[in-house]
Chain length 145, copies 2
């Protein structure tokens, strides 16, 4: 596995896809999303249920229903998605799995690792979903393959 769990990868791709497809307040269904990001539909449905419950995305049932994102949703950082799925270990945890990452009891990687972890935090916490989405709308970035 990479840096994030597979579930988290699906979640991030889906969020970008929804953002990309509902700039206007329209909705997009689970089928379209799962095809658009190449993920198992039913599994993704579970993930989106979760994100929806947490208020990271929105959903509506019934005809013309589906998932969508409000301005409020779009302005949140991507780290909200990551934290919802994978938790905070990625942002706070020790590289070697010590119970507490701290400068008082640092592992051999601590100093350098902390810098890298901070960069990752800055990237995910400091950038709104919307701004990642701009490149996507420009067709400059991709969510599939």
């Amino acid at each position: 596995m990479g840096v994030f769990s597979r579930t988290c990868e699906y979640a991030m791709r889906a969020v970008f896809f929804i953002a990309h497809r509902t700039p206007d307040g329209s909705r997009v269904g689970i089928k379209d999303i799962s095809e658009g990001i190449d993920s198992p539909a039913h599994f993704l449905a579970k993930i989106l249920q979760d994100l929806s419950r947490r208020g990271i995305i929105n959903s509506a049932k019934g005809p013309n229903g589906g998932f969508y994102m409000t301005e409020e949703n779009l302005s949140r950082p991507l780290s909200d998605v990551v934290e919802a799925i994978d938790g905070v270990q990625i942002f706070k945890g020790c590289a070697l799995g010590l119970k507490q990452c701290s400068v008082k009891n640092p592992c051999p990687l601590h100093h350098e690792f902390k810098a890298i972890r901070n960069d990752l935090t800055k990237l995910l916490n400091g950038t709104s979903i919307k701004s990642f989405n701009e490149d996507l709308l420009n067709g400059m970035t991709s969510l599939k393959k």
Copy 2:
């Protein structure tokens, strides 16, 4: 989970522990190691078997047997351990799980993520186990708690 799998965390801690305890060519047993790094002994045994088969560490059976590391072992980069356990995804994989991370079909995170991933690669690939170990021998860093 953090950046690395739990198995990989144990592996890295164990490697540092062995390096720390066998500077002279002596050996250290699985019991000592697992207690020293706070990991399940039998599970760690499996992990060390694997590292030993791959030549990342060495082992000897029988009385006064145990695990140890040669100069050659110590001079290898920590990335060897990570690759042996977790594979190369962490060094090469796309943040969003696209099949290929490439500048031709970049995901929305690609540019910034790649920089971070490269820093991590540089840290693990560019530093020998021995040099991480120096701080440990000085008592400046820790492997437990």
